[in-house]
Amino acid sequence: MTIMEVCGTHTHAIRRHGIRQLLPQNIRLVSGPGCPVCVTAEEDIALALKLAKQPNVTLFCFGDMLRVPCGNESLLQLSSRGADVRIALSPLDALAFAKENPTREVVWYGVGFETTTPHTAALLEAAARDNIQNLSVFSAHKTMPNALRALLDTDTKIDALICPGHVSSIAGADAFRFLPEELHLPSAIAGFEPEELLVAILALVTMILRGKPALINAYPRVVKSAPNETARALVDAWLAPCDAVWRGLGMISMSGLALLPEHAWFDTLKRFSLAPVSVSAHTACRCGDVLRGAIEPVECPLFGKACLPQHPLGACMVSSEGACAAYYQYEGAGI
């Protein structure tokens, strides 16, 4: 039986605790598109690079976006050549900088799923309240449900799904109820400690064996059925669903989030009148197949050879939560 997880932190926790080695051979754990850095479309990365090259722009983003390569460039490389690119621990860092540096055009490059999107909305709210003119948001945020529907519609064959823990803490467990009810897929929301992961896997195996798909919340300490309404209302006030390209999965309808038209002033793409950039992919990179769970990292011809943590060629190796980075860190080059 094949069980997929779709959360970068689960990918990492499973590798770190050696969960796979504890399970019998007939239970296969596979990583899906759970790392928002890894699923960011190359076209979006190309736009971020274009923004960073503008001399009056200071670009803020989370740390693991810095090294994602697009062609033979990354934000980190641009930074070493003089571009003003900064790591934020919270999007509010960008706001503080914008206030102290009114002559800089500050861009918040927002990447993340439901757990992180409210933070970008909070940034927008604070910027509007404080009348900050020199900050804008480039939203590359995404939402999980439609991506899961699209994934399960492909040739990906899985028997059960480990649902993300912290996405669920914001979106509510009910956001994943469609998995057993519409798609007949046993699902369990899991925490991040090894015992919590094993309980979730036990629940999934039981459901598979009994043929009774359901949604089990195996992380009730943190996840409730209903969403965090404050966060939801805040996101709804600033962002709306839009079609989005996911690396490895292609265009998925209503799986991204864009600034509402009435907030166009804060929308980086409108403020800078940026036209979409087309990108030619590195032909041997198989990040797309890894992200769909179609192959293991070690099956990519570049893994452990040309593509290494210190020299990543694709997003799955760059992000600390990428499937390839996690595999390499805990199991080496797999040779």
């Binding site: 959360c7 970068g8 932190t9 790392c35 928002p36 850095v37 989370f62 693991d64 621990l89 919270s90 999007p91 509010l92 860092d93 990447v111 993340g112 799923f113 757990t115 992180t116 409210p118 933070h119 909070a122 709210e125 993300p164 823990g165 912290h166 996405v167 803490s169 914001i170 015992e195 919590e196 309980v199 036990l202 629940a203 039981t206 459901m207 009994r210 009774k212 359901a214 089990i216 919340n217 195996a218 009730p220 300490r221 943190v222 996840v223 965090n228 404050t230 966060a231 805040l234 992000s319 939560e321």
Partner: protein, 71 residues
């Protein structure tokens, strides 16, 4: 990316909570959880408190296993 750390709220000033992570204190915004109170154990992600953590650890795993048995 979904990395979230549990800590205890030591103090709240306006929208800023001071979170104690077992010896070290860092700030986080409570904008997303306005009813968070001093003494609450909470989950913090990217500078924001996102959810409360129920203190009772052991009983919950048992309850889940019972729920699985009943399926």
């Amino acid at each position: 990316m979904c990395l979230a750390i549990p800590g205890t709220i030591a103090k709240i000033e306006d929208e800023t909570a001071f979170i104690d992570y077992g010896g070290t204190t860092r700030r986080a915004s409570v904008r997303l959880l306005p009813d968070a109170a001093v003494g609450d154990c909470v989950l913090v992600h990217a500078g924001f408190v996102i959810q409360k953590v129920d203190p009772d650890e052991g009983a919950e795993l048992e309850a889940i296993l019972k729920e699985v048995e009943l399926l």
